[in-house]
């Protein structure tokens, strides 16, 4: 059968982000894959070179809508390393708590997307409902569902009071119950196993040599996690296990993420219960001395690297970002070789390429010149009431 090259994307129904594939197929089998990721370059590295550290932080937080805290923390960490600034313990714990909550929300989101890609939309509905619990906690802590703006150079901007801690712990209890459900689902639900096992195979050796990171690498048995191997914040104090799976397929990546959910919930709980008292920030200098820092962070998608070069001024001479998705693209090309063309969405989704979300709603009546905003609670109430009255659905207590 002759080989045919077909373009998929950059806009397509399978993925929500612009990426172009040129797939060479022989019948239904994929023989080669060419990626075009040039649709989203925003010049953030150049932008950071032209702004001082405080302003850069706002920009860096917006590199990604889902792991915004990962980028902001990693940058702060690097700049603080250049400034030789020791953080108060409480600040490192708060950063860690928000970081782990972010991982929980990101993994729930991924489980839903993966369910959707394999036509298991019930799973999508379940996980995204549960994800709202984390989103609520993040909003209570930071005031935002995305872009939490918790960090500043020298510490954090928001403290956790007793009420917040109590409420977060109550939510975590429910989340822990659900995490058990999803772990069982990933390991024993027949439809999931039938669809994901042996799909998108990535061998242990290839995962290492192609530089895969995060759950993609750990799903192929690579026992590596920045939180343990290059401990930052308070990760050397909080007990946790690095989850790996030897499957090497999409199922392995699912098992790793489901397991990490449970771990992150336990870690957040432990950190909240053992939160050290004291200050949450230290005054920081405006300028960073000459020097270079390579800052690493285990983002929900894997190792995130920032390279920061200081030059005695209030801005970075060079700021380079290596996101986990970038590191995982070569492994996608490898994992799709000789697969079925219908596997493209789930194999690509298995590295969890980033997506953005936001939730505020602003109403505008241009002809009356009126604008008003609803709070999240009001919008949520409205949604629940609307579904009960118009669709007869009662969400009940979740």
């Amino acid at each position: 059968m002759p080989e045919v090259t077909i373009p998929i994307g950059p806009q397509h129904p399978a993925l929500k982000e612009p990426i172009g594939f040129k797939v060479t197929v022989e019948g239904e089998r994929i023989k080669g894959l060419d990626l075009d990721i040039s649709y989203n370059h925003r010049g953030i590295e150049k932008g950071v070179e032209q702004r001082d550290f405080t302003k850069s932080l706002y920009m860096i937080e917006r590199i990604c809508g889902i792991c915004s805290h990962a980028h902001a923390t990693n940058f702060c960490k690097g700049v603080e390393e250049l400034m030789r600034l020791e953080l108060p313990k409480r600040a490192t714990y708060i950063r860690l708590i928000v970081g782990e909550l972010e991982r929980i929300h990101s993994h729930y989101l991924w489980l839903g997307v993966a369910g959707h890609e394999i036509g298991f939309d019930t799973l999508f509905m379940y996980t995204w409902r549960d994800r709202e619990l984390v989103q609520d906690v993040l909003e209570i802590i930071s005031g935002n569902r995305v872009n939490y703006a918790v960090n500043r150079i020298g510490g954090v901007r928001r403290d956790l009071d007793e009420k917040t801690i109590k409420l977060t712990l109550a939510h975590l209890k429910k989340l822990a119950e659900r995490a058990v459900f999803y772990t069982n689902l990933a390991t024993s639900e027949e439809t999931v196993i039938a669809r994901l096992a042996k799909v998108g195979m990535l061998s242990h050796e290839k995962a290492k040599s192609l530089g895969s990171v995060g759950p993609t690498a750990r799903g192929s048995g690579v026992n590596s996690d920045v939180r343990r191997d290059d401990a930052y914040l308070a990760y050397d104090e909080v007990p946790f296990k690095v989850i790996t799976a030897d499957n090497g397929d999409v199922l392995g990546r699912t098992i790793v993420r489901a397991g990490e959910l449970a771990q992150s919930i336990e870690m957040t709980k432990w950190a909240l219960e053992n939160l050290p008292p004291g200050e949450i920030r230290k005054p920081a200098a405006r300028t960073a001395p000459m020097g270079e820092a390579v800052s690493r962070y285990e983002a929900p998608r894997g190792e995130l690297v920032h390279f920061i070069r200081g030059n005695n001024t209030d801005r970075a001479d060079r700021f380079a970002v290596r996101t986990p998705t970038m590191a995982n693209w070569p492994s996608v090309v490898e994992a799709l070789r000789d697969q079925n063309i219908a596997d493209i969405p789930i194999v690509v989704a298995a590295i969890d390429p980033c997506m953005s979300c936001t939730s505020r709603i602003t109403f505008l009546k241009a002809d009356e010149d009126k604008a008003w905003t609803w709070s999240w609670d009001r919008l949520r109430e409205y949604g629940i009431r609307w579904y009960r009255e118009n669709r007869g659905i009662s969400w009940g207590e979740i």
């Binding site: 040039s38 649709y39 030789r84 390279f307």
Partner: protein, 176 residues
């Protein structure tokens, strides 16, 4: 906090100095689990192979470029679970920045070298597939936005590039 500068005496610095002494310069350890060193265009490949074989660096974290105005630097960041991060910098001339690819010894470098090529205009002879990666197809040729002398808005922007010019440029890029 564990990221604080500590233990300036990293035993690995001495080991590398003994093994590769004349090939490398300025081997230092700025903090725990970090070693920084400088190589030349003649020695960087041997140094990377040494780090892979002797220091257990299986993972390439990042290759990034730096524009120092009078010269360029390419920095290879290799990670080992056991020994930490090794950053190997190579200085290149500003007029003709060029350094041979490492994709044959580190397959993970394939996208990172393309990124540095896009944004800094540093050439990597021997790279199997040096096409554009991050810049869009109609970005003018020879414009490298992360160079210090490149300012947004100063040069002709995308919309001004005529399609004929672009086609000619593309044909040139392919044959090169």
């Amino acid at each position: 906090m564990t990221d604080s500068p500590a233990a300036p005496e990293n035993p690995l610095v001495t080991v590398i100095k003994n093994d590769l002494g004349p090939m490398l310069a300025n081997i230092t350890s700025p903090r725990r689990r970090r070693v920084v060193m400088e190589a030349t265009r003649d020695s960087y490949r041997d140094a990377i192979k040494y780090l892979q074989e002797k220091m257990d660096c299986y993972h390439l974290s990042l290759i990034n470029g730096v524009d120092l105005k009078t010269s360029f630097e390419v920095v290879y960041h290799l990670w080992s679970d056991k020994n930490g991060m090794f950053s190997l910098r190579v200085s290149l001339s500003h007029d003709n920045p060029e350094i041979g690819t490492v994709t044959d010894i580190v397959p993970a470098a394939i996208l990172y070298e393309r990124e540095v090529h896009d944004l800094f205009g540093i050439e990597f002879p021997g790279h199997p597939d040096m096409r554009r990666l991050l810049l869009s197809d109609d970005w003018p040729l020879g414009e490298h936005p992360l160079r210090k002398d490149w300012k947004p808005g100063e040069k002709k922007m995308l919309c001004l590039v005529k399609s004929a010019e672009l086609k000619a440029a593309k044909a040139g890029e392919k044959s090169a």
